[in-house]
Amino acid sequence: MHLHLDPSNGLPIYEQIARHVKFAVANQLLQIGEHVPSVRDMATRLAVNPNTVARAYRDLQAAGILTPIRGTGLAVTPDAPGRCQAERLGLIRTRLRSVLTEAWQNGIAVDELRSLFDDELSQLATAGLATAAR
């Protein structure tokens, strides 16, 4: 699992780690029963405070995404993929909302926004087809 962290993007680091794990579960990069790296491994790999990783893992346990397996570490729960996929949509919605708010505050018209949205989407789709063909 590769994680990219941005300590100064306003989102607390433990939240960023938790999000990465959730996205990895939603995308099936992490599957049911698989283990996440230990707190120490993850902390060293990311060069962040171990307490921060521990906090992210605690939150993920509380959310029912991870569960402790005796003596071996934390594993992905059977319920996790469904929950993470639902949450993924929620997170994207929040991101979208903040972009839309910014556009709104800067006086961009609704029609302009819609065509911008469709435009970007079709560009992504074309790019996706191109990569698939390669």
Binding site: L5, P7, S8, N9, G10, L11, P12, I13, V39, R40, A43, T44, L46, A47, V48, N49, P50, N51, T101, Q105
Partner: protein, 310 residues
């Protein structure tokens, strides 16, 4: 539990320069504490006082429960210290430096030192004088870590080092913290501090202006940007403790802590025709705002929040 560091009303001046002014704070065990502040803020003086290398004019400091004034030698033996400019003997090799330093510490030092030398991929036969700045720093860090100290003190360890070496230093610090040991880190690399610190201590002109847990400081601080209809309109007071305020034309920017969200929701009395939004600032934004505000009106402490509990 005894704090690993305890300072009580520590003052120190060099001639007319006041390096530390009545600085008091505690650092509990098992934390990574970052010491921030501009150049000349008193960070190195503070560290040297803790280690008993400087005698304060007044006040007391304790490290691992020992008085720095009377137990300096014992403190330096128990603590791992890496100064900004590590003093090493140029004519020794990497291996000889470890062997020589081991003489001052209990047995086992040399073994661990050699492990770090391998870990950092240093050549034990190389002379210190032929080492690059980064490699030299790695030798100094290996020396500071080799007796497995309960407390590691690093004074700007990564200044002038390349990103790869800085990353290796961060990883070593994380490793120390993962074992429940404590770290005091003085640094200008704010983004690095943001990754590894549990708590931050901000010094300015020898005074303590902020001590808080990093999470708390970041989660309680907001940046508010408001656009008023014209230049002449005075903005209403922001509902919270203002750390900094700046005006660009008819745009106002505040950095504030403990903002009453419900008052914000009701636009806290902003005049008709104005707009605002709220952002989460980075540690660098917060630090800059604190330092600027303080520089503009010294004597007014913008953000002395209560010391860390527990």
């Amino acid at each position: 539990m005894t704090p690993v560091l305890a300072l009580k009303s520590v003052s120190k001046s060099y001639g007319r320069v006041q390096a530390l002014q009545k600085v008091s704070f505690d650092v509990p065990a098992g934390r990574v504490c970052a010491l921030l502040g501009a150049n000349g803020a008193g960070k190195s003086t503070l560290i040297r006082t803790l280690l008993g290398l400087e005698t304060p004019d007044s006040g007391t400091t304790h490290v691992l429960g020992m008085d720095s004034r009377t137990h300096g030698l014992e403190i330096r033996r128990r603590v791992g210290y890496m100064p900004e400019k590590p003093a090493l003997y140029d004519w020794m090799t990497v291996a000889e430096t470890g062997w020589f330093t081991a003489g001052f510490y209990p047995s086992g030092f040399q073994n661990v030192y050699e492990q770090y030398v391998r870990h950092f991929q240093l050549d034990p036969r190389q002379k210190i004088k032929h080492l690059s700045k980064g490699t030299r720093a790695k030798v100094a860090l290996s020396l500071a870590l080799a007796h497995k100290p309960e407390l590691l003190i690093l004074d700007e360890p990564t200044s002038g080092l390349d990103p790869l070496v800085r990353r290796e230093f961060l990883e070593s610090m994380v490793d120390v913290a993962a074992e429940g040991r404590s770290v005091l880190l003085s640094s200008h690399q704010v983004s690095e501090v943001e990754r590894v610190a549990d708590m931050v201590v901000i010094l300015l002109g020898g005074e303590l202006i902020c001590i808080d847990s990093l999470d708390e400081l970041k989660s309680s601080t907001r940046e508010i940007v408001a656009t008023l209809p014209d230049m002449g309109t005075e903005p209403p007071p922001v509902p919270g403790q203002v750390l900094a305020h700046a005006q660009f034309g008819h745009e106002h920017v505040w950095l504030a802590r403990g903002i009453a969200e419900e008052q914000l929701a009701e636009r806290w009395g902003l005049p008709e025709g104005s707009a605002f939004h709220v952002q989460t600032p980075s540690l660098e934004d917060i630090l800059l705002a604190l330092l600027r505000e303080y520089r503009r009106s010294p004597g007014v402490r913008p953000a002395t929040s209560e010391a860390i509990r527990s």
